[in-house]
Amino acid sequence: MTTAPATLELHGVERRFDTPSGPVTALRPTDLAIRPGEFVAISGPSGSGKTTLLHLAALLDRPTGGRLVFAGADTGTLDEAGLDALRRDRIGMVFQAFHLLPRRSVRDNIRFRFRYQRVDAATETARTDEAMAWVGIAHLADREARVLSGGEMQRVAIARAVAGRPDLLLADEPTGNLDQANTRAVMDCFTRLHAAGLTILMVTHNEALLGFATRRFHCADGTLEERR
């Protein structure tokens, strides 16, 4: 195990939601540290709190308790603009529903990664081409996203996420909408990205995918438990 500083640290992080029927705890106080180069997978049934944890890790949401440290920065001390900047420059996300722009080409969807980044056009192009080559979709570059298969869409989404060269890749049920063959292709992508040194946090309800990760956790009733 590497001794490098953690990319992401959760110290007693919890998330409660206020509902009409009273407060609901989606994530109980949780400790977790993900170091550079790790591939962490969290499994668990729907409603177990794993997506809540992922959104907290993506700085899309703020914890109601505990401390979340990203790349050494205590996110509790950052304002919204600071969180937006971290998310823009250092985090990549892959979603179950792909979230592609259907009428734009594959290339434009990947370039969309740079929509809010200050990157020059030449770098944008180079990184887009590199990401497409990396996940094996260079031949689809000019196709509209809406005509792709589910597996191709997810690979476009992965390319979009990694084109920005994030410190942490977060994947939320990345194979949830895919058949077995496409699941395998997508997981191959993650394996190669991890082998290249990318830090990955993936949540899935598919226990079979845990084998791809270097560290595995199970989430149930908002509680995270590491599996050895």
Binding site: L60, H99, Y116
Partner: protein
């Protein structure tokens, strides 16, 4: 790529993905812009017409028009005695009669002939572009001379020195009134702007040209500082004089002349203004409701943008930009449509239409402002979405 180009591309992409929605909002605002432009053209036209009328009548001029029956009974001499009452009441201010006479005038086609006092040009502030005005000698001798408007010259007279015929007598043209401020021009509907042939009062009387009872007026030049207390008091005293009242005069001032126009302005302001405001309001609310629907439909995209680092401000700006793009396009289309309609309507409706810079620019600016104002709620809704909730929505 600059932020402006990126934003433009985002907006174009969004509009392309919802063409029916964009077209509906575009149509609603376009109708509003067109209506407002037409309204401004009418109001501006009436205002310009009012300015022309005052210029033709004379801004410092007060007139009294006697009742036709009194004119018929009094004739030339009676009218002159009536004028003398005013001259005595206001000895320091020039007065002059202007009386329409019924006589054929050749070669001035369509011209009206007026018997006028020698001081009329001074009272009404007219200047000549050529020749001279009547002098005391013309008045004393009843000389058969005529001064014509520029419109009359174009209607058949070769100019100063030419001889025409009024009734059965020859008249020599001695002057032509200059067009412009304070003088009749061809564009005004006031009598002064028409094709006029003016002859000395004494000449008309000597020739016994028949007076048209409804066409007589006595003009007085008001003091330069306007209706002073002394001036008003003298007019009031005159109005109370039984000899003056026997003529049952109707006062004519720039204000009374404009009463009709002001009435039109009020009617148009209330009706067309309400319609224009309603159209624009309808366009704005249509735009807002469509934008609100669009925000709801694009929640996953909003979540994606936030996941990619977009700030709330970035998201709000996207929707405001879309709205302004629609209203901007509506401004262009509405302005073009209004320009075509104004070109078609000009001369075919009984209203003057003004087509100046502001007539077209103001509705366009209003349209853009509407785009900004009515996109506020959708933009705020979009910006306020929790990114986590937005992504779950997808």
């Amino acid at each position: 790529m600059s932020e402006a180009l990126r934003l433009r591309r985002d907006v174009a992409e969004s509009l392309r993905s919802q063409p029916a929605r964009a077209a509906l909002a575009l149509l609603a605002v376009t109708i509003g812009v067109t209506t407002l432009t037409l309204l401004l053209a009418m109001v501006g036209g009436l205002r310009a017409e009012a300015r022309r009328m005052i210029a033709a009548f004379g801004a410092q001029v007060v007139a009294a028009a006697p009742a036709p029956a009194a004119v018929q009974a009094g004739g030339y001499r009676g009218l002159d005695r009536w004028r003398a009452l005013w001259a005595e009441a206001e000895p320091d201010r020039p007065t002059a009669l202007m009386v329409r006479v019924g006589a054929e005038a050749e070669p001035w086609r369509g011209a009206t002939v007026w018997a006028v006092g020698a001081d009329l040009a001074i009272v009404r502030g007219w200047t000549l572009q050529e020749g001279r005005w009547f002098d005391a000698l013309d008045e004393a001798n009843g000389a058969r001379v005529a001064v014509i408007t520029d419109a009359a010259r174009w209607a058949g007279s070769p100019g100063v020195g030419s001889v025409g015929r009024i009734g059965d007598q020859p008249y020599t043209v001695i002057g032509i009134i200059r067009e412009g401020a304070g003088v009749p021009d061809g564009s005004t509907r006031h009598a002064g702007g028409e094709t006029l042939v003016l002859v000395p009062f004494a000449a008309a009387e000597r020739q016994r040209l028949p007076i048209e009872p409804g066409g007589a007026a006595l003009f007085l030049r008001a003091p330069p500082e306007g209706a002073t207390e002394t001036f008003t008091a003298r007019l009031d005293a005159l109005a109370a004089d039984p000899a003056w009242r026997a003529w049952q005069p109707r006062w004519i001032t720039p204000d009374s002349l404009l009463a009709g126009i002001r009435s039109w302005q009020r009617i148009i302001g209330l009706t067309a203004g309400s319609i224009a405001a309603l159209c624009l309001l309808l366009g704005g609310t249509t735009l807002m409701s469509l934008m609100l629907a669009e925000v709801r439909q694009r929640i996953p995209e909003i979540g994606l943008r936030r996941a990619l680092g977009a700030t709330r401000h970035d998201v709000a700006r996207l929707f405001v930009a879309e709205s302004i793009a629609i209203t901007g396009a509506a401004a262009v289309m509405g302005t073009a449509l209004a320009a075509v309609l104004l070109a078609v309507l000009d001369g075919r409706v009984p209203l003057p239409l003004q087509r100046d810079y502001f007539t077209f620019v103001i509705p366009a600016i209003v349209s853009i402002v509407i785009g900004s104002v009515f996109s506020f709620a959708p933009a705020r809704l979009a910006a306020g979405l929790s990114p986590a909730a937005a992504l779950r929505n997808g």
